[in-house]
């Protein structure tokens, strides 16, 4: 099976990229193994407790993707800069208590691993 990696740098709601990535990932799952790497402000996307009122909860959308097999990882440096810290214990597929289940904080080196193993890469950034 081919692999698709989506790289995001925007936080949720400031643009449509999180929702676009969700739709792309869900559609691609039929033919691709899908990775999503959250970089810079995109590490805010999986935060628990979002209440976006008029928008779809981006964290819930992404957590739902992990249930379907999408691998979602967040850059450790970017996460730490924004107050999200990884822990040793993995609970419900996540190593961050502030994140939705299934989404983990990881080293930036995992981005290069994802890129090198991918057949397609989509970058969504402003």
């Amino acid at each position: 099976m081919k692999t698709l990696t989506i790289v995001l740098t925007d936080g949720p709601y400031i643009s449509e990229y999180a929702e676009t990535a969700y739709k792309l990932a869900e559609a691609a799952l039929q033919e691709y193994k899908v990775n999503i790497f959250l970089y810079l402000d995109a590490v805010h996307i999986p935060k628990k407790g979002q209440d976006p009122s008029f928008f779809t909860n981006a964290g819930q959308l992404f957590s739902g993707l992990t249930v379907k097999g999408v691998i979602i990882r967040a850059c450790a440096r970017c996460a730490a800069a924004r107050g999200y810290l990884p822990e040793e214990e993995i609970i419900q597929g996540s190593n961050c208590r502030d994140y939705f289940p299934g989404i983990q904080i990881t080293s930036l080196y995992e981005l290069s691993e994802m890129l090198s193993e991918s057949d397609r890469v989509i970058s969504l950034s402003r």
């Binding site: 790289v7 740098t9 970089y39 810079l40 440096r77 970017c78 800069a81 930036l108 080196y109 981005l111 290069s112 691993e113 890129l115 090198s116 193993e117 991918s118 057949d119 397609r120 890469v121 970058s123 950034s125």
Partner: protein, 114 residues
């Protein structure tokens, strides 16, 4: 993917994008061919003699220079448009015209923009 083109078109300071692009490019070097393309305001990154101490930030041009194995393409028209042609640049870069810049970009397996 065997090659990646990181595209940076924003200034080096005042936001995290240049630092983020540099870090992503650096960690990718061990696995794939990496090119950092500087376009628009991104070309300010290669001006030598930057002093970022008052900003409390690392000198990003020095960091870029330290990664000598990283291919850095600088879009020459962007340099000219900003009146930077008389400036001294760090040494590890290629100044290229628009055609060459986009040719390398298109020939890369993927483009990640910042």
């Amino acid at each position: 993917m065997k090659s990646v083109f990181y595209l940076l078109d924003t200034v080096p300071y005042g936001n995290e994008k240049a630092f983020g692009a540099l870090n992503a490019a650096a960690v990718s070097l061990s696995r794939i061919d990496v090119t950092l393309g500087l376009y628009g305001d991104g070309v300010y990154l290669v001006i030598a003699g930057q002093d970022s101490r008052k900003l409390g930030l690392p000198n990003l041009a020095d960091i870029l220079y330290a990664y000598g194995e990283l291919r850095v393409l600088v879009h020459e028209p962007s340099v000219v448009e900003r009146g930077l042609f008389g400036e001294t640049f760090i040494e590890t870069l290629e100044l290229v015209d628009e055609e060459d810049f986009f040719e390398v970009m298109e020939s890369s397996d993927c483009v990640i923009s910042f």
